[in-house]
C-alpha cells in the first residue's frame, strides 16, 4: 500500500524568506509524485509533478520540488515566499496504477508580512 507523510501541520515563514514544505512517501513501484495547493473554499490546484527525469522539478508560481529516492522525499520549496502563498498544501503519490492518488494530510503554509 502506498502512503504519504507530511510531518508538519503548519509552517510559518516571513515574507521574502525561503520556504520548505516537507513530504515523504512510501510506494511499492516507481512513484508518481504531485503537489497541490488549496485556497479556502476552493478545489485543489496542481502545482507540479515528478514522473521521471530530473530530480528537481519546477512548477507554477515559482515553486519547485526535489525528488530524493534514497530518502523517499519530495519536499516543496520556494526561494522567496509571498503572502499570497498562504494556503493548504498537499503532497500526493501513486505507483503508476489505475487508481487514484494517495494524499498526505496537508500542511498549512502561513506567510507573515
Amino acid at each position: 500500500a502506498q502512503s504519504v507523510a507530511q510531518p508538519e501541520d503548519q509552517v510559518n515563514v516571513a515574507e521574502g524568506n525561503p520556504l520548505t514544505v516537507k513530504c515523504t512517501y512510501s510506494v511499492s513501484g516507481n512513484p508518481y509524485l504531485f503537489w497541490y495547493v488549496q485556497y479556502p473554499n476552493r478545489g485543489l490546484q496542481f502545482l507540479l509533478k515528478y514522473i521521471t527525469g530530473d530530480n528537481l522539478v519546477k512548477g507554477s508560481y515559482g515553486f519547485e520540488a526535489e525528488f530524493n529516492k534514497s530518502q523517499t522525499s519530495f519536499h516543496l520549496k520556494k526561494p522567496s515566499a509571498l503572502v499570497s502563498d498562504s494556503a493548504l498544501y498537499f503532497c500526493a503519490v501513486r505507483d503508476g496504477g489505475a487508481d487514484g492518488l494517495t494524499f498526505g494530510k496537508g500542511t498549512h503554509l502561513i506567510i507573515q508580512p
Binding site: G43, A98, L101
Partner: protein
Amino acid sequence: NAGVTQTPKFHILKIGQSMTLQCTQDMNHNYMYWYRQDPGMGLKLIYYSVGAGITDKGEVPNGYNVSRSTTEDFPLRLELAAPSQTSVYFCASSYTGLAGGNKNIQYFGAGTRLSVL
C-alpha cells in the same frame, strides 16, 4: 474552459435521505475520481472510473455508488445518508493516454460541501 464542474456547491441532507452529487468534465479525460475531504485527514478516494462503463472502488466506498454512462459525467450517489458522510466531496479527472505534458495530472472541481443532519 469550464474544466470539472460539480453541483450542488452546498447541500444539507437529513439522515436516511438519498441524493446524487453531479460531476461533469469537458476535457475529454478518460479517468474520473471522487474524493472526500475531512478536516485534518487529507483526501480519501471513494470511487474511480477508467472510462465509460467502468468503475472501481477506492479506499472508502461504503455508503456510495457511482455510474459512468458517458465520458463527461460521473455522478456519485449517496444512499441512506448518515452523519459520517458529512464532508466536502471533490470530483477530479485526468488524462492517461500515451502522450501529452498534462498526462497524469488530476484536475479538481470546486467541491460540494455536504452536511447530513
